[in-house]
C-alpha cells in the first residue's frame, strides 16, 4: 500500500505544474507526410502533391522522428536508440478547396504509433522517395512499440497563398511499453498537431509536406497540498 502511495505521489509531482502552465508536451517530432489514393483493383498508390492533395477516401500518412521527450516519461535514451513514429489509417472524410484554402476532415480511428529501435543493432529509418517504398514506412515502425494512440477528429488546413497549414487531432493513448507511466486519468485528451508546408527543399520526392509538431495535453494536472493522513484515507 505504501508503495502505491509513493507511486501516486511521484506521479502527482511529475505532473505537477504551476497554475499558469496550461500544456504538457509528451514528445516533439519532425518528419514528412504522404498521400495514397484509391487505384483500380482496390489498391492505394502514392499521389504527388497537387492542389487539393487530399481527396475523399485518400489515406493520409506521416512518418518521422521523435526529437524530444517530456521528462514525464522515464526511459527513452536518445543516444542509444532511435525514436520514430507513423500516423496511418487517416482516411479523408471531407475535403473542401475554396480559393486558396484546403480544409480536410478525417474519419475517426486514425492511429499514431511511436517506436524505439536500437541505433547499434536496429535498422536506421530512411525516408527514401515515393512512399510507400522499401524503407518507408517500414523502418519507421520497426523496433518496439513504446506508445500508440487512437486519433479522432483530425482536421488539416492548408493555405496555398502562404504555403503553410496545420493539422490537429485528438489522441487517446492506449498501447505501448511506456503507457503504464502515464496516469490513467491522463491517457486521454492529448492533441497531436504540426505541419510545415512546401515549397520546401527538404521534402523528398513523393512526400507532400515537412512536419514539425508535437503531442500535447492541454490541461496538466496541478499539484495540491495534502497531508499523509488524507492520502492514507484514500486507500482505507
Amino acid at each position: 500500500m505504501k508503495r502505491r502511495a509513493w507511486l501516486l505521489l511521484l506521479a502527482a509531482v511529475a505532473f505537477a505544474a504551476p497554475a499558469y502552465a496550461q500544456t504538457q508536451t509528451l514528445f516533439g517530432f519532425t518528419g514528412f507526410d504522404y498521400v495514397q489514393s484509391a487505384a483500380p483493383g482496390g489498391l492505394k498508390v502514392n499521389r504527388a502533391a497537387v492542389p487539393n492533395f487530399l481527396a475523399v477516401t485518400d489515406d493520409y500518412h506521416a512518418v518521422g522522428f521523435i526529437t524530444s521527450f517530456s521528462p514525464i516519461v522515464v526511459g527513452p535514451d536518445m543516444v542509444a536508440n532511435e525514436y520514430t513514429f507513423h500516423l496511418y489509417d487517416a482516411t479523408v472524410a471531407t475535403s473542401t478547396l475554396v480559393g486558396d484554402f484546403l480544409e480536410v476532415s478525417f474519419q475517426d480511428n486514425a492511429r499514431v504509433r511511436a517506436f524505439e529501435d536500437s541505433r547499434s543493432t536496429g535498422t536506421a529509418a530512411v525516408y527514401g522517395i515515393n512512399p510507400p517504398n522499401a524503407t518507408s514506412p517500414s523502418t519507421f515502425e520497426d523496433g518496439s512499440l513504446i506508445l500508440g494512440a487512437d486519433v479522432d477528429q483530425l482536421v488539416l488546413i492548408y493555405d496555398y497563398s502562404t504555403s503553410q497549414g496545420n493539422f490537429l487531432g485528438n489522441a487517446n493513448l492506449d498501447e505501448g511499453s511506456l503507457l503504464g507511466q502515464i496516469p490513467p486519468g491522463l491517457q486521454a485528451g492529448w492533441i497531436m498537431s504540426g505541419l510545415a508546408g512546401r515549397p520546401n527543399a527538404t521534402v523528398p520526392d513523393g512526400y507532400v509536406n515537412q512536419l514539425s509538431g508535437e503531442l500535447v495535453i492541454p490541461t496538466a494536472t496541478n499539484s495540491r497540498h495534502g497531508s499523509w493522513g488524507s492520502l492514507k484515507r484514500l486507500y482505507r
Binding site: 505544474a17 504551476p18 499558469y20 502552465a21 496550461q22 500544456t23 508536451t25 514528445f27 516533439g28 519532425t30 514528412f32 518521422g64 522522428f65 526529437t67 524530444s68 517530456s70 536518445m78 543516444v79 532511435e82 473542401t96 475554396v98 480559393g99 484554402f101 480544409e103 476532415s105 541505433r119 536506421a124 529509418a125 530512411v126 527514401g128 522517395i129 477528429q153 482536421v155 488546413i157 493555405d159 502562404t162 504555403s163 503553410q164 497549414g165 496545420n166 493539422f167 492533441i191 498537431s193 504540426g194 505541419l195 510545415a196 508546408g197 520546401n200 527543399a201 527538404t202 521534402v203 523528398p204 515537412q210 514539425s212 509538431g213 508535437e214 500535447v216 492541454p218 490541461t219 496538466a220
Partner: protein, 247 residues
C-alpha cells in the same frame, strides 16, 4: 603513404561517427537540404497589444519568439542540445504589419499576420537557465523572459524577412496555426561552418499553437530552421569563353 592515408580516412570516418551519433538520422532528408536545428516544447511568442480573442496583431508592434533547442544538425551535429552544462536558445523578432482575416471552407476563418524587419540569434549559454516549458513566467518581458534566452555566445545570427503566422479556426471548430519565414545568416561564431558565413538563406517554419498558453503569451511555436542554401559563386568571364562553351 597509401596506408597512412587509408588509416587517416578510417579515423576521420570513425571520428565523424562519434561526434554525430544521434542527430544524423533525424536530420537527413535525402534531398540534400537538411534541418539545421529544431525546438519543441520550449517555444513561446509574445507581443504587446495582441488581441488573444480575435488573433489580431497591431501594426508596428514587435513579436518576440523564445525557444530552447532540442535538435542540432550538420554542420553543428557535435553540439548537444541536451548538454547538462550548456543551453542552446533561439530568439526571433519581427515587426507586425497587422492581421488580415479571410473565410474558408464552410465556416472557417484564417487570421494571417505578416512580420517584417525581423532578426534571429541562437545562443550557447551556461548554465541552463531558461524557464521550463511547463513553468513559463507570466506576462513577458519579465525577469527571465527573454533575458535567460539571450545570454551566452551568439552561435548564429541574422535577419528574418516575411515571417508569416497563420491561425485558423476551422469549420469544425478546431483552432491551430503555423508560421513560415525566410532567414539570412549574417554572423555568429558558428557561421563560418556554413557554406557561406554570411548571406546563406534558409526556410524556417513550423507549428504556431494558440491553445492552452501561459498568461501573456500569444503562441507556442514548435519549429525548425532548414540549412541555408549554398549558391554557386559567380565567375567573371568573357563573351568569347561563353561562345566556346556552345561550339
Amino acid at each position: 603513404m597509401k596506408r597512412i592515408l587509408g588509416a587517416a580516412a578510417i579515423l576521420m570516418v570513425l571520428a565523424a561517427t562519434v561526434i554525430a551519433p544521434t542527430a544524423s538520422a533525424q536530420c537527413t532528408t535525402g534531398t540534400g537540404t537538411n534541418i539545421l536545428f529544431k525546438w519543441d516544447a520550449n517555444g513561446f511568442a509574445y507581443e504587446p497589444g495582441y488581441n488573444q480573442a480575435t488573433f489580431n496583431s497591431t501594426a508596428g508592434n514587435q513579436v518576440t519568439v523564445v525557444g530552447v533547442l532540442s535538435l542540432w544538425c550538420a554542420p553543428f551535429a557535435a553540439l548537444d542540445p541536451n548538454d547538462p552544462l550548456k543551453e542552446y536558445t533561439v530568439v526571433l523578432t519581427g515587426t507586425s504589419s497587422g492581421t488580415t482575416t479571410a473565410p474558408f471552407g464552410t465556416s472557417g476563418t484564417a487570421y494571417t499576420t505578416v512580420y517584417t524587419g525581423g532578426t534571429f540569434a541562437v545562443y550557447e549559454g551556461t548554465p541552463r537557465n531558461a524557464p521550463a516549458a511547463t513553468a513559463m513566467p507570466i506576462n513577458p518581458p519579465n525577469a527571465t523572459v527573454p533575458a535567460n534566452y539571450l545570454d551566452g555566445t551568439v552561435v548564429l545570427s541574422g535577419s528574418v524577412d516575411s515571417l508569416v503566422t497563420s491561425i485558423t479556426r476551422s469549420s469544425f471548430g478546431t483552432v491551430n496555426g503555423s508560421f513560415r519565414g525566410r532567414y539570412t545568416v549574417l554572423g555568429g561564431s558558428g557561421s563560418t561552418q556554413l557554406c557561406q558565413a554570411k548571406g546563406g538563406i534558409g526556410l524556417m517554419n513550423g507549428l504556431w499553437a494558440v491553445s492552452g498558453l501561459p498568461t501573456g503569451y500569444i503562441a507556442h511555436p514548435n519549429g525548425k530552421f532548414d540549412a541555408p542554401s549554398c549558391p554557386v559563386p559567380a565567375q567573371t568571364s568573357t563573351w568569347g569563353k561563353i561562345k566556346t562553351l556552345y561550339k
